[in-house]
Symmetry: C2
Subunit: 198 residues, 2 copies
């Protein structure tokens, strides 16, 4: 399984990382080719050698970021569906968010408003969610078929769990409600324990 971003040449990768830094340090509104060049050890015009326009660069950068995010989803399938679900939740909502993960999530939140209107951005966010939903759904389905879980609709339950994870992460990044993350996580575990487990 080759990621598209593996096909990038060294300089293109440097540009992607510079864009990441510029976005994290200065936000979307201030993201300009000049600002990216500042984070890069190259001149502005070098960026135009690789990308026709700022828009083309941004599109590639979203692809680059989505690939990196998807690489962090550790799809280790064990033999205990409940433990697998808990593992997924702990991976996506770690108690301690590493700086690297925090930045990755921040970039996705920063780019997400583009998905409101631009189809090509929307499709990438759709891809992420479909991927996550599929992983969770398969795990729930295995649990239901193994009679470890109640006879719930795996699709419905998976979308519920995914929405809760996303809403929790989103709140964690955009509010000061530190206790909310732990509370939502606790209730999600309890839901799996009492509602899902038969």
């Amino acid at each position: 399984m080759t990621k598209e971003s593996d096909a990038l040449c060294a300089t293109e990768k440097e540009i992607m990382h510079a864009t990441h830094r510029a976005l994290v340090n200065s936000g979307y509104a201030a993201l300009s080719i000049s600002r990216i060049a500042d984070e890069l050890d190259k001149a502005k015009s070098t960026i135009y050698h690789y990308y026709d326009s700022k828009d083309a660069l941004l599109l590639q950068f979203l692809r680059f970021t989505v690939d990196r995010f998807e690489a962090t989803i550790n799809t280790s399938i064990g033999d205990d569906p409940k433990e697998d679900l808990n593992h997924i939740i702990r991976t996506l909502l770690p108690s301690q968010l590493t700086e690297e993960k925090r930045q990755l999530y921040c970039v996705l939140v920063t780019l997400s408003p583009q998905a409101l209107e631009r189809a090509i951005f929307r499709e990438q966010f759709t891809e992420i969610d479909t991927r996550l939903a599929t992983i969770i759904e398969k795990t729930v389905r295995r649990g239901v078929e193994a009679d470890v879980f109640r006879d719930v609709d795996p699709t419905h339950a998976a979308e519920h769990i995914l929405a809760t994870i996303k809403g929790t992460m989103y709140g964690r990044l955009t509010t000061n409600r530190e206790a909310a993350t732990a509370a939502a996580k606790a209730s999600l575990f309890s839901y799996i324990d009492s509602h899902l487990v038969s």
Copy 2:
């Protein structure tokens, strides 16, 4: 209970509505004073008569939008906690999103990345969530105390429900996964029915 935006003069309100239109029609990156003036029946410099800077305008606009969002939260408290919860969910996740609500939610999604770094934006998003969480928590607590609900932690359950609502809405706005909204909602109702109700 007076909203801060009630204190705005007629022209300021016009500017707020013009900003809303500019943001909805052209997105955050293209949001400029010139662009707002285009949506307004006034010159650019008139805007500077009311606001010292673009930043001051944006801050006021977030306040204006948060007030409008909070006005849509119909806190009708009935005598049936379960029905009240369902009502809250149906209000925040209506089956048919009116164009007006869709725009309001889109504006919040568009402004939310600002909350990642700017404390003053962050506080407003914190306010929204705290308000919603409190409403849900009170409802759950009433249900627990009336023995209609199981003896769950009202805070934990409320944060779970809120996160699910937010994640569902966020996905609805930023992806093409139309079925996901209905699935998450169905599972949330089922959670209330089977897990919360005793």
